[in-house]
Amino acid sequence: MTTPQTSDAALRRRRLSTAGFHAGAGALSLLWLLPIVLVLVTSLRSFDDIAAHGLGSWPRSFTLGNFRQAWVDGGQQRALVNSLLVTVPCVVVTLALAAMAAFGLSRYEMPFRRTLLLLMLGGNLLPPQILLIPVSKLSEILGVYDTLPALIGVQIGFGVGFYVFVLHGFMRSIPVEIQQAAVVDGAGPWQIFWRIILPLTRPALAALSALSFTWIFNDLLWAITVLRTDTRMPITAALIGLQGQYVSMWNVIAAGSVIAAAPTVAVFLRFQRHFVAGLNLGAVK
């Protein structure tokens, strides 16, 4: 078809563009990963090393003591437990509630269903700032101020609308016939929900779980609004505390940051596919 000469040139051109692509994309990735590498390296250096040579110097020491210090003396262990005690129930309950509501709104001819759906979504889109003061007062009135249940409550209430919206869109695309067949077989709403719709919604639920885990785990604003006592704070707030406690001891602060980031990074690496799918599901956010 082509003479050997032109095909040679085309091949060379293709190789050159591939090399160019990898050079560009590689440099970009390196730039992106550099801060992460920096914090990892810093977390393994000793204070004396950093004090003597500066943060940007080549590491001359290696220690795991910083992690010990952040974990035990800095209270990161307790903070991580607090974070998980809030995040796990929040993810489970929010998604359970959202799946229920989405099921009702998408599979039944309910009056005002569209209005309800958008009302719930609208609640999630409100800027949280308008809620901060009333929510902190409300948790005082309910007697849960400065306790983890207050944080769990507000996270669920604020998050649920968005998940309802996404799951509604997903459940709506499940064919009606499947449900009709179940009705003919005598299945009640609970059985339809539990045995048919929920299993079919699993991909969306997996995606939203991965996503909501990171959102709730990483939250700072709600935590410092309804909590006051240091020992009850989740890891994000504790990290800021650590920064005050170990002023310019970058080795400990870096170790604390690594501890705070580890769970979400683990979730991301384990569920990367779901995670990205979730962002696209949630593209609407």
Partner: protein, 312 residues
């Protein structure tokens, strides 16, 4: 994955027989299903709707959080007109919106275009750019604080390439604090926007590019006349994400500068928080929250109109 996006859902429509469902579906909603909807709604009403209404009321009061709130009408909003810090925070919020929002959209699109082709190794590059998205903004902020320190990496880098005169206390200088805070926020946001655009690019029918090629379109023309118009719905999504995220931005500023020095990196959200919970001026803080709400409302409203159309 792409099938799940709102965007792709439009290009490959799911067959929905609305009439058929109406006829075949149950006439009356079973009580259990009603409860399914009402319980979550109640949770949201308690923690969101009711507090929101109170928030609007509190904006019209003067309140220290201890004694009873005193109704003062629009006095809080009149005070804002003479509040220099409010003006700074408002300007900074707009700057944040334009710089953080604009750059994350542009760079997100650029990286998506670069990394859209399925080549060997592209998964690694995507993951690298995406990884920061899962970090908390607090951890992100602390990492960058180490970079910005007077003896930090940035200054050492400048020194080593002979630009030592540019060395700077980046976060402590009123002129640079806000911009120094935007960089980590961007570092974290670009990967997110990239993912949205990647899904959008994947949804474009390759036949359109074939046709453009046949018509003699170059790369730029194909981008201008095929890619951009096809990305319109993703653009709308990205725009809403950006505006809402910008107005909500709090964590990164709070953990880096707390709005300082001298309010030079103050956003409306940080000013609202410190006014309410540190100065304990809860009424004025609520009024600031109302301003944030009004700014966000335009976006939310237009967004809800879109969602409304999509919902049925």
């Amino acid at each position: 994955m792409a099938v799940l996006t709102t965007d792709a859902r439009r290009t490959t429509p799911v067959p929905t027989p609305p009439r058929g469902r109406r006829a075949g579906g149950p006439r009356r909603t079973p009580p259990l299903v009603l409860a399914f909807v009402l319980v979550p709604l109640l949770a949201e009403a308690v923690w969101v709707f009711w507090p929101a209404l109170q928030g609007f009321y509190l904006a019209l009061t003067s309140w220290d959080g201890v004694s009873a709130p005193r109704f003062v009408g629009l006095a809080n909003f009149r005070e804002m007109a003479h509040d220099d810090v409010f003006r700074t925070a408002a300007v900074d919020t707009v700057l944040w919106l334009v710089l953080f929002g604009g750059l994350s959209a542009l760079l997100g699109l650029a990286t998506a275009l670069l990394l859209q082709q399925e080549r060997r190794g592209v998964g690694f590059y995507r993951a690298a750019l995406f990884l920061p998205v899962v970090f908390s903004l607090v951890a992100t902020a602390l990492v960058w604080q180490a970079i910005y320190q007077p003896d930090g990496v940035l200054n050492q880098l400048l020194q080593s390439v002979g630009l030592g005169s540019l060395r700077h206390a980046w976060l402590a200088d009123q002129d640079t604090a806000l911009y120094a805070v935007i960089v980590p926020a961007l570092w974290r946001q670009i990967g997110y926007v990239m993912v949205l655009y990647l899904a959008g690019l994947k949804g474009i029918d390759p036949a359109l590019y074939e046709a453009a090629k046949v018509d003699g379109a170059g790369r730029w023309q194909a981008f201008r006349h095929v890619t951009l118009p096809q990305l319109r719905s993703v653009n709308a999504v990205v725009l809403s994400v950006i505006v809402i995220d910008s107005l909500r931005s709090f964590d990164v500023v709070w953990s880096l500068t707390r709005g300082g020095p001298y309010h030079s990196s103050e956003l409306l959200s940080t000013y609202m928080y410190s006014t309410a919970f540190q100065s304990l001026r809860l009424g004025y803080g609520s009024a600031l929250a109302v301003v944030i709400f009004v700014l966000a409302f335009g976006v939310i409203a237009s967004y809800l109109v879109r969602a409304f159309r999509e919902a049925d």
